[in-house]
Amino acid sequence: MATEVLKAEKLVKVFTEPARQQVLYDVSLSVDKGQFVTIMGKSGCGKSTLLYLLSTLDTDYEGTVTIMGMEVTGLDEEELAKFRNEHIGFVFQFHFLLPEFTALENVMLPALKLGRWDAATVEERAMDKLRQMEMDGYARQPSGKLSGGQQQRVAIARALINEPDLILADEPTGNLDSANTERVIGIFRELARQGNTIIVVTHDRDLAERADRIVEMADGRIVG
């Protein structure tokens, strides 16, 4: 029987700014270990909002989120930060690397924060991840000097560094040309094959169709 990595129950999200607007209606979702799930839907359907609830970054909601058997709803900020560091890897639409740091340092930072390995091991592991993304040749470059596609691959390496139980991606190909999109899709596919649990929010059909499972959303509800 597959392990349940993520379980979301009856998530309700209401924005009060600028005006009261409910964006999620009793959304429940369960993801098993090793699944590659994409969440699709029109822009404004609440799929990104859902992702940020699942990511523990947004704590202002009703319902419960359980990750790896741990109910994260209601934990305080410091506990959540620690939890994210240990269990969740993030990839954003706009790669979001720290521009003053080299590609390697960007990948290393979450692991240094985690403190599970010493600095030398962290560096070795970070190089491994970069190699996996075929970015090892750019390790010592300031991340600000890399192209968008390169930065996104560094960002994926960074998401992987702490061996997270769950990888979350918000429109990871949304800002890339088709060649890089293809490449990033390939990487996700490969990560899924290696047994990673991945949830990707996207409106890119090509990406969605390569997933194990597609969750369709519309108007704040899961429709399929």
Partner: protein, 420 residues
């Protein structure tokens, strides 16, 4: 990357904007340097003024104050006691009392036995006139036991010519201040004539010349022997008007003065009361120093505050990413507060050094020649507590200036930034 991860992030941030970091650091540097410089100079000035004035002030001055207590009026003798009458006396005068201390040998012996008293110097202090051609110079003549007086004021070290002991070996000897000697155009061995208020005159032979470095003393005071002055005034051998006391610890002056005043029924002023104006002056200068220094440090603090706020505004995205990756509020606070602290500490250390160099420079600058005060260079003190205070002030300002922006950074909502 040997530093803890938060600090190494802070380091990268600092180094990635060297110019801003330098400006913020220099702000603190100048603030602290000026604080050190000003307080060292002001304390130096205070010390010089206190030293000079205290060098001519005894710890306790004991004397017979002219009473202005008119409750016992002679008018009663003429009008008898009569409760039905109001007697109004306008402009009453004190009785013609003697200004001396009664039973002075007893008082002196008693004081010498009082614990805490180091030296007791009985004396007569009167106004006399010196004639120099047509000019008459009014001067305070102190008839003293010169050995006791020497023990109180360290006269030996202040002699330009002769020794205090020469007063004892010279018949009708007199010690006069350097400037008075110049005015009277006399040197050691010359004769001067003093006229008492009664008109009695006496010729004295200059036995020595001293210089306290304080114009009013060097020009307006002479020492003669107690006996000579008693003779000039036509008084007996027990006639004493004042007693100067040196204590083992001058901080006890206030309480001991009160004790002696109560015990013997005369007035006793401690040095702090006598020199209240010095204290007030010191306090004003100190306040000024602190206000100005504090203002400068606050300005430096605002510099840090502004720069850190700008930095944080520009780093909103980075903060959101760090948070998404598991850096908590404490981490973010550490990252940004440590940047302020590094700025503050670096600026502070440089400021202490610059302050020291400025103070040192001033302390070697010659002081313009002045007849009132006898100092060769600008007075500057070098006290470790000022440097500690400067360092503490600097650290505190930086902490305060860094705390608010760092807290603001820690409060950044990552969702709002990442989704925007």
């Amino acid at each position: 990357m040997k530093l803890p991860v938060n600090l190494s992030i802070a380091r990268v941030h600092l180094l990635s904007r060297k110019k801003q970091t330098l400006v913020a650091t220099l702000g603190v540097t100048f603030g602290i340097a000026m604080f050190i410089f000003m307080i060292s100079f002001m304390t130096g000035v205070n010390n010089v003024i206190s030293d000079i004035l205290l060098s001519v002030t005894p710890d306790i001055h004991f004397y017979n104050d002219v009473k202005t207590d008119y409750r016992n009026s002679v008018s009663a003798q003429y009008f008898k006691e009569d409760s039905g009458k109001w007697i109004i006396v306008r402009h009453p005068r004190p009785r013609a009392i003697l200004l001396n201390l009664k039973n002075s040998p007893g008082i002196i012996a008693g004081m010498r036995r009082t614990p805490g008293v180091a030296v007791v110097s009985p004396l007569i202090s009167v106004q006399v006139l010196f004639n120099y051609g047509p000019v008459q110079l009014g001067v305070i003549a102190d008839g003293v036991d010169i050995r006791e007086e020497d023990r109180i004021f360290g006269l030996t070290g202040k002699m330009v010519n002769g020794r205090p002991g020469d007063l004892l070996t010279t018949a009708n000897g007199i010690l006069i201040g350097r400037k008075l000697a110049e005015k009277l155009n006399v040197g050691v061995g010359d004769l001067v004539t003093a006229t008492a208020s009664s008109g009695a005159q006496m010729r004295f032979r200059v036995a020595g010349i001293y210089e306290f470095g304080l114009g009013s003393v060097d020009e307006g005071k002479v020492y003669v022997s107690l006996q000579d002055l008693q003779q000039l005034l036509g008084k007996d051998r027990d006639y004493i008007t004042d007693i100067r006391i040196k204590l083992k610890n001058n901080q006890q002056a206030h309480s001991l003065a009160r004790l002696l005043a109560r015990q013997y029924g005369y007035r006793a002023d401690d040095w702090e009361t006598t020199n209240a104006s010095i204290k007030a002056g010191n306090r004003i200068r100190n306040t000024l120093t602190y206000v100005v220094s504090f203002t400068m440090l606050v300005v430096a603090g605002f510099g840090i505050y502004n720069i850190m706020n700008m930095v944080i505004l520009g780093k909103m995205k980075d903060i959101a990413i760090l948070k998404a990756q598991g850096f908590g509020r404490k981490d973010i606070t550490t990252i940004f507060l440590s940047q302020s602290l590094v700025t503050g500490v670096a600026g502070g250390v440089a400021g202490l050094l610059l302050g020291f160099l400025l103070s040192y420079g001033l302390s070697t600058m010659p002081f313009p020649h002045d007849d009132f005060m006898l100092i060769k260079t600008y007075p500057v003190t070098f006290e470790s507590r000022h440097y500690l205070l400067g360092a503490g002030f600097g650290l505190l300002t930086t902490l305060a200036a860094g705390w608010l922006p760092a807290r603001r950074a820690a409060k950044v909502d990552p969702v709002a930034i990442l989704r925007a």
